[in-house]
């Protein structure tokens, strides 16, 4: 997974499949950035995400909830069309900000 920090914002480029096999790795990685490096704004880039299920979505929602009381934010960008339906069903778009491509720095 590619990562980039710019203007105190952590950009994570999630690739391939996000399920129970690797959701915990993403969780640890993000928690480390929040706890150890003081990151408060995170953008998850999903253009190269091929598959996600509730294990993956759960970790994303969990990180959002962790950042809230710290005054932080988590945003999602570039969800591929074949994942729209599962995103919609999960209710995440009602809670988390979804950025269209051009608004992302």
């Amino acid at each position: 997974m590619r990562k980039r920090i710019e203007r105190q914002t952590l950009h994570l480029y999630i690739e391939g499949e996000l399920d129970m096999k690797n959701a915990n790795d993403l969780k640890s990685l993000i928690d480390m950035e929040i706890d150890k490096k003081g990151i408060r704004i995170i953008v998850l880039h999903m253009e190269d995400l091929q598959f996600i299920d509730s294990s993956g979505l759960g970790v994303i929602l969990g990180r959002y909830k962790k950042l809230l009381p710290l005054g932080g934010k988590l945003k999602i960008s570039n969800v591929p069309p074949h994942l729209y339906k599962i995103m919609e069903l999960s209710g995440l778009p009602k809670i988390i900000e979804f950025l269209p491509k051009k608004e992302v720095l």
């Binding site: 499949e17 399920d19 096999k21 598959f51 299920d53 979505l57 339906k85």
Partner: protein, 145 residues
Amino acid sequence: MKVNKIILTFSSLPENVTIARMLTSALGAQLNLPLNELEELKVSVSEAVSNAIIHGYNNNPDKFVTLKIDATTDKITIQVIDKGRGIPNIKQAMQASFSTDPERMGLGFIFMQSFMDKLNVESEIDHGTKVIMVKHINTQPPSSH
């Protein structure tokens, strides 16, 4: 009618969720399922298998999960079976946002329900759980969507 039956039994390991999904996907592709339905099948299998490993077996890798797929020309029936701890209250378990694990979303059954045409859960405490899902195959040429 031609029938294809496939039974996959595998160690209760996280990496086998990928294997189970890939098998489902390969079979669905042979049945010429449209891409979006393939995707939905994969999510449903992923949820049921993850549940067997996480909830049924509490991540014990020495246990076994079984995925049964029956494909005919007009429907695909998927069963995910574990011999784990079972579900005390199936109705409650199937409700949106219900989870016995505070870290999880409680959406697994919701996804299965939304993505499949039929969902049935049988479970017995300490004997295990069987999730049965059916997806009808649209043999008409695609038109209305």
